[in-house]
Amino acid sequence: MKIRVKLALLAVSLCALAIAACCTVLIISANGNSVNTAIDGALSEQHLLVQSFQSALRNTYEDGLSDTTQQSLGKYLFRQYSSGSLSRSQYAMRKDGEYLHNGSELDPADILTDAKTRSGNGTEVKYTIVMHDNARHIVVGSANTINGGVYDIYLVKNIEQVYSSNASLTAKLAAVSLGLVLLTAAVLAYSVFRVLRPLKALQGSAAAIAHGDYQSRIPVKGKDEIAALSVSFNAMAEAVEKHVAEINDVAEARKLLLAALTHELKTPMTAIIGYSEALMKTRLTQEQREEAAAYINAECSRIERLSQKLMQLIALDGGSGITIAPTPVTELFESVEKTLLPIAKRDGVALDMACGSETLSMDADLMASVLINLFDNARKARAKHVHIVCSGGLISVTDDGCGIPADSVKRITEPFYMVDKSRSRKAGGVGLGLALVKRIVAMHGGKLSILSQIELGTCVEIELPL
């Protein structure tokens, strides 16, 4: 069952229950009241009758009247009285256990044998309610001693109207309650539907995300819990979208790297296969043989260099093996200088290294490899002077080499991107140096910027967070 149906049903049933309880109490007490009023009315009417009859009998009484006369007189007076009654009650009277008059169709004396008794005004009055002719009748009676004789005076009254008006009241209340319940149900159903409608949007959006539509968001309305949920949901969707995009980017980068690598391997492979085939099948001079062997050797070392750099790049991508610790820059520079000086001397490059006493957070081995890579690039760019300077968090490697064309600067850090492939290869480049540098700097949370002017030189700046 849907939550909005559940909620609406629960609320409506509670509401109906409350209304029913109220109505029941109301009906019971109203019914009780009206029945009591009818009883009281009948009692007082009987009392009035008794009083009237009593006074009439006393006024006409004379001593020495025979029993028969007395009886006839009582009968006469009572009949007179009862026929003159304006109420719709019927009266009966008994003297000495015999009815002198009975205007009703019942036997009141018999009915009242076991009835309730109410005393008041010095007399005991009995009353009860009986069914007669499909209608409820109240029967009231009391024994009264008048002029020495005992007169039982009864009143029988049809009080069905009280009950029928009670029934019609009950019916009216029931109708109103039902109407109220229906109205409540309608209002509740609508408001619950309105309140829960955003959940439907939420569900749709979640399903869309599950199917790969990571851009799906839901509108946030109001400030209730559902709005808060929507906000959280959107935040989650955003995070999912971001992570998926990152994963896709990484996958895409790997794919491109792999494609570039495959392409990159074709040239050395062609040379190696071709020269080995030539050595095997073609009649070559000694000189040609040596040349072929030299080419095979050179191409194989290139593949070896390529695989080494690639391994470094992959190791970095795995994120393992990087230990960033505060290291004095002087320490870094000393170790780099030790590596670079012999190469610089051999190639006739003037190397200048200068730094202050700052300490930077870095992985010294990786940072050394960055500087060595950058020096190597400068050397391949036919630089005569290379300055490696550190001040503050900024390390710069400046050369006076051939420079990088403006449109290539942006792409220069892409794996296997080389401005001049054949020259770069001749110099032993494999096109991964700057990709490595960029990766290492990024892992330090640093910034790499390359400024270059063709024919004048290149300046690579690495900004490390202090």
Binding site: T270, A271, G274, T282, R283, E299, K421, R425
Partner: protein, 216 residues
């Protein structure tokens, strides 16, 4: 002798192609980038075929094509890209053929040969030692004297001379001379090679596990 223009920026590969084609009896002219290719195009009066790498610095292979076509030079592209798009682009722009790196030199020679025959750049006179083979006459001369050869022997000799100094496996010889669907014994090749040796007096070396090589 057919003159082949080898335009390839990778020194190792350019040298490899030039060396292999030279020993096989072609004349080669190397160029290492687009600009050099354009300069050499002006220097030389005739080229029978150009082998062009698509990825060249300065002026790339596609840009070179109009200049080569203008001179009526058929082009075979060399490329490391094995995708349909560049293949289509290469052939659409008017190249005769397309060969993907890495390739075998024998494969290259077969393709070049087909293009040269189609475009008329193939030498009609093939030489090896004191043997002269005239493809248009289908005749062989030894020191100017006609040498009668059976059709299969003629085909075999043509194959050997076209791949001079390069070893040919028995399978390759069989496929080229007898046709790809011939399932004969490789002894057949040995018998015919022996016959050819006797008739022409050429040095056809037998290289263990590799095949035969006409040495000249």
């Amino acid at each position: 002798m057919s003159r082949i223009f080898v335009i390839e920026d990778e020194e190792a590969i350019n040298k490899l192609i030039c060396t292999s084609l030279t020993v096989a009896g072609y004349e080669t002219v190397p160029a290492y980038d687009g600009n050099e290719a354009l300069a050499k195009l002006r220097d030389f009066e005739r080229f029978d075929l150009a082998l062009v790498d698509i990825m060249l610095p300065e002026v790339d292979g596609f840009a070179l094509l109009p200049h080569l076509r203008e001179r009526g030079i058929p082009v075979i592209y060399l490329t490391a890209k094995n995708d349909i798009e560049s293949k289509v682009q290469g052939l659409k722009s008017g190249a005769e053929d397309y060969i993907v790196k890495p390739f075998e030199i024998l494969e290259l020679i077969v393709r070049m040969d087909k293009v040269l025959e189609r475009t008329g750049g193939a030498s009609k006179l093939l030489r090896a030692g004191d043997i002269e083979l005239r493809t248009d006459e289908r005749a062989v001369y030894r020191n100017g004297e006609a040498l009668p050869l059976k059709p299969l022997e003629f085909e075999l000799l043509t194959l050997f001379i076209k791949n001079k100094n390069i070893a040919l496996s028995r399978e390759r010889i069989m496929a080229a001379v007898w046709g790809g669907d011939y399932f004969g014994e490789s002894r057949t090749v040995d018998v015919h090679v022996a016959q050819l040796r006797k008739k022409t007096g050429l040095t056809i070396a037998s290289l263990p596990k590799i095949g035969y090589r006409l040495e000249d």
